[in-house]
Amino acid sequence: MSDTHANTIAFVRETQLPPSPPPAAETGAIKWVRENLFSSILNSILTLLSLLVIFMVLKGMVPWFWNSTWNANSLSECREAGTGACFAVIRERWPQFFFGFYPSTEYWRPLLTFVLLFPALAPILFNKVPQKALFFTLLYPFIGYWLIWGGSLGGPVATLLGVVVAYCVYRTLVAQAPVIALLASVAAVVIWMLFINGFAADALAGVFGAGLEEVDSRNIGGFLLTMILGIVSISLALPLGILLALGRQSDLLIIKAICVGFIEFIRGVPLITLLFVASVLLSYFLPPGTTFDLVLRVIILITMFAAAYLAEVVRGGLAALPRGQYEAADSLGLDYWQAIRLIIMPQALKISIPGIVNVFIGLYKDTTLVSIISMYDPLGVVQPILADSDWNGILWELYGFVALFFFISCYSMSQYSRYLENKLRTDHR
């Protein structure tokens, strides 16, 4: 140490003090317990009370599960066999919970579709997966459609051809005028679907043969229906919501008016009303003779509903970005769509992740509303079981099982959103 004296003011430190370890009472498990559970008298009382509540809950639940019955043919048999839960009903009715009235010999098709979902989603959800895998993701909707609804491979292939044609139209025109290219490709899809698709599908059906057994939309139900509605609507609603949010911010008055009108109308109407429109009213508006699959109608309306909410969430994200980001993008010479895609959206979407996932989870659970228009989603499946005299009076097990399924799905979504937020955190504050 330097030889400073207590009575001199000038002081110069010549050596750095070495860091020393914290006192022993400030580390380890004892410290954790003291700080987190028993830091004061009030907190100690709360801790003990909470432990009591947890004990009471477990005391009720554990025997219910422990003494549960899995083998029985009716509720009365269950009651004789054990005092706990009667899971026999789920054992007996699980095909309906998972597949609705899907033909039992064809269960492998939805299962295969479900398994293929993971490689299709992987390149979108995780950017460590090589981006070439996106090719499979683009094909997946057609494969999935064919597997679940069946019929000849000709139909999906014809539609795929239509999409390819539209893409070629877009590619040839995009260099001259991006907006016209986009409109032209949309027009190409519409023309293809209205006039060419039918012939192409028939012609290709001749080539590919009869294919898989056709399954009617009415027979699709259970968790399968929930997954179809949820996943398709979510993947369509996000791009539509982004476009609506951008449209609402647009300088072009007509586009802005359309977007605002759409968002406000959809948000102002209950989803159930829209679902009734889908199941009943739509056929009045459409030209007679057009058949329009019920599942497709429901998907379109749920998508529109979710997109309106998403648009507002994304708009919040856009509003949170400083104007300087737009100006910096502009000053570098990026055009509007480049600026939106490379600068604005990555940041706006990152800010809105919690809100977006919130809408997704809401949408996913709202798909249960289709039981009102007599589609057999998991809740719709519960009704006939309750009406069955064998199982009359059983409630907890059925609704608990449905709840467990929804909880797993929704909790996975929320965990993924947390992963994504952590991964995208670059502000390092």
Binding site: E327, D330, S331, L332, G333, L334, D427, H428, R429
Partner: protein, 259 residues
């Protein structure tokens, strides 16, 4: 500051015209922000624009790359007339670099990605070449070792130097600076100014809104004083600081140099 410096700083200015502004007017609603601005900038000129806040100096340089729209008059940048035609605007913006008071780096991209983004997407440059150029300019602003960090991890002075490098990666012929040091701590101002001085010495055409009068004396060949949306006085720095003509300029200089 000696006469010798003034003469060296007037070297490198060519007869070629970089920017012409004729009778330019701008309004925010009813508020007349810029009034009858006439300005010709030769290639290689280093112009410092100063004036009290609200005098329209930032608005003036933001009009040059069409971040703000002017309502009357004509702006010609590098022979291209600035009109509402988006193609012209994008062309001018890719030739004119700009640095902002708050840097405006893209926080979701690394330093290197910030620098390569515009060359890749606007100039259609291959990624490897863009990265090479980016590293060249990052070395020039003396932060090549930060290339893979995110803007949030850098100090203000470093961020502003990255912003300069990002603009330079587009190989602009004109650079605009909008109060580049106003948001910085005093000890970081110098590193940014040093970078700007170096740029000026290489003959870049620069328009710079700043209150750094030392910088103006050192590199500017012309100082413009604006007040209430008009150009009140312009002169060589030596004359401007030692012998201001208008009363408004004298008052401004006495306030800014007074302490």
């Amino acid at each position: 500051m000696t006469m010798a410096d003034t003469t060296t700083s007037s070297l490198g200015i060519s007869d070629e015209v970089a920017i012409t502004i004729r009778g330019m007017n701008k309004w925010y609603g009813d508020f007349h922000v810029l009034r009858d601005i006439d300005l010709t900038v030769q290639r290689g000129e280093r112009i410092v624009i100063c004036g009290p806040s609200g005098s329209g100096k930032s608005t003036l340089i933001r009009c040059i790359n069409a971040l703000e729209e002017h309502q009357k008059g004509e702006i010609v940048v590098d022979g291209t007339v600035l009109s509402s035609d988006l193609k012209n605007i994008d062309k001018i913006r890719s030739e004119v670099g700009m640095c902002f008071q708050h840097f405006n780096l893209f926080p979701h991209l690394t330093i290197l990605e910030n620098c390569t983004l515009a060359p890749i997407w606007v100039r259609n440059m291959p990624k490897a070449e863009a990265e090479e150029i980016a590293m060249h300019y990052l070395t020039k602003v003396k932060i090549p070792d930060q290339a893979n960090k995110y803007p949030g991890q850098l100090s203000g002075g470093q961020q502003q130097r990255v912003a300069i490098a990002r603009s330079l990666c587009m190989k602009p012929r004109i650079m605009l600076f909008d109060e580049p040091t106003s948001a910085l701590d005093p000890e970081m101002i110098k590193e940014v100014l040093d970078t700007m001085v170096e740029l000026a010495e290489e003959g870049m055409t620069m328009l710079c809104v700043t209150h750094e009068m030392g910088f103006a004396r050192q590199v500017a060949n012309r100082v413009i004083f604006m007040d209430a949306g008009q150009i009140v006085e312009q002169n060589e720095p030596e004359e401007f600081f030692n012998n201001p003509k208008s009363e408004r300029t004298q008052l401004f200089l006495s306030q800014i140099l007074g302490h």
